[in-house]
Symmetry: C3
């Protein structure tokens, strides 16, 4: 059995690209939920398009995306918790891929209402200068429910002081 | 340092198989939640067994599984949102693997009741003719709660028109 | 094109290490949720530190961690369902890595109250004697809400007996 070195490299590169793309998807959550603008901005190409759909709408480019994060999302919710899963990635070539994934999100809005949201992301990922980032992300939001007022307090399990 | 080409191939193949299996698990969610029968059916071998447990029960083979999807699941819920995670895969050989994973699911039933479900999948994956698919999936449903009526309306964050 | 065998090995090993680490994160959930102490204990090094934060606090070493599992967590909740996602891993070298991931958890406490929890794990993973395990895990718990009493009963979809 022999292996063509360039084929071998392509297969390894594909696996590493998958891991890099999964990390972009995770970093979106860590960035927005943990108030980490640097991490959040690191996932986007400079000219990225980010369409959150109504009511927030679309942003283009780093400056606009950062404005959406800092002036719309963060003031709009006291806290958010995104859990993004079901990632499927299709490659167009070595440096471009399309993805779809789903998130569940608990968010406490500025007025204290707690939402449970189901959303899906449709993404275009591109590798430029050796680095995978998001070129385009569109959000679909099929479900948003309201959870009972929880006052955000953790109950203490029995037997624990 | 030298690497045995066939060992190298086996290791790469194992990683690629893991990715293919994770995609089957994700496609189940995309298929059922997004009313995409083609994607849903693509994850099963022709003779697959799909046991949802009570009250829906077991299906065998493509025709029966499709019937369960289209005549039981889709009419039973207005919408479903599955988020499947915690996937662990054990290989039996190059072409067979066992998996376990967990899903959280929000579903709005036909009568408007919104459920929050915890379920686990126990799977047998097989590669036939070079393609990984599910040979057997069993569902365990340890928890199903009811969420408050949400009317499925998204609240608009403050400051957004 | 030529590939350096030791570089090739390092890249493959890195991918396999990522898979092993993701499995530790999943096994935590399977172990605690499915009352499988053996699986739960298998993820920790003998001298691991596990800090759950208040009110449960920190455990050190297998004996102490097992005591926390069996005498605090399991009696404190009737059932738990952890869904852990958003895993990001950074390697320090071939045998050490740092990770962060997020979990959503539904838990029914001993008194019947159903919680919805958002938590994050910050982990140090180490490979010793060829085996990846957790050396240190710290839990942050930013959100815990209470779900309505659900009686843990599944509604039956229309059309199913």
């Amino acid at each position: 059995m022999t292996l063509d070195p360039s084929d071998l490299h392509a297969r390894l590169d594909r696996m590493e690209s998958r891991a890099a793309i999964a990390e972009l998807v995770a970093h979106y959550c860590h960035g927005v939920d943990k108030y980490d603008a640097e991490t959040f901005m690191s996932i986007w190409h400079e000219d990225a398009h980010f369409n959150m759909g109504p009511p927030i709408g679309a942003s283009s480019g780093h400056q606009d995306i950062r404005q959406t994060l800092e002036n719309v999302i963060w003031p709009g919710w006291r806290e958010t918790h995104h859990w993004t899963v079901n990632l499927v990635v299709r490659f167009d070539g070595p440096d471009r891929a399309h993805g779809v994934c789903d998130t569940s999100c608990v968010g406490i809005m500025a007025d204290g209402i707690t939402q449970l949201i189901a959303a899906s992301y449709t993404d275009t990922f591109e590798r430029r200068d050796g680095e995978w980032r998001i070129a385009k992300r569109s959000v679909a939001l099929p479900f948003a429910g309201v959870l009972p007022d929880t006052s955000n307090l953790m109950a203490t399990p029995a037997g624990v002081d």
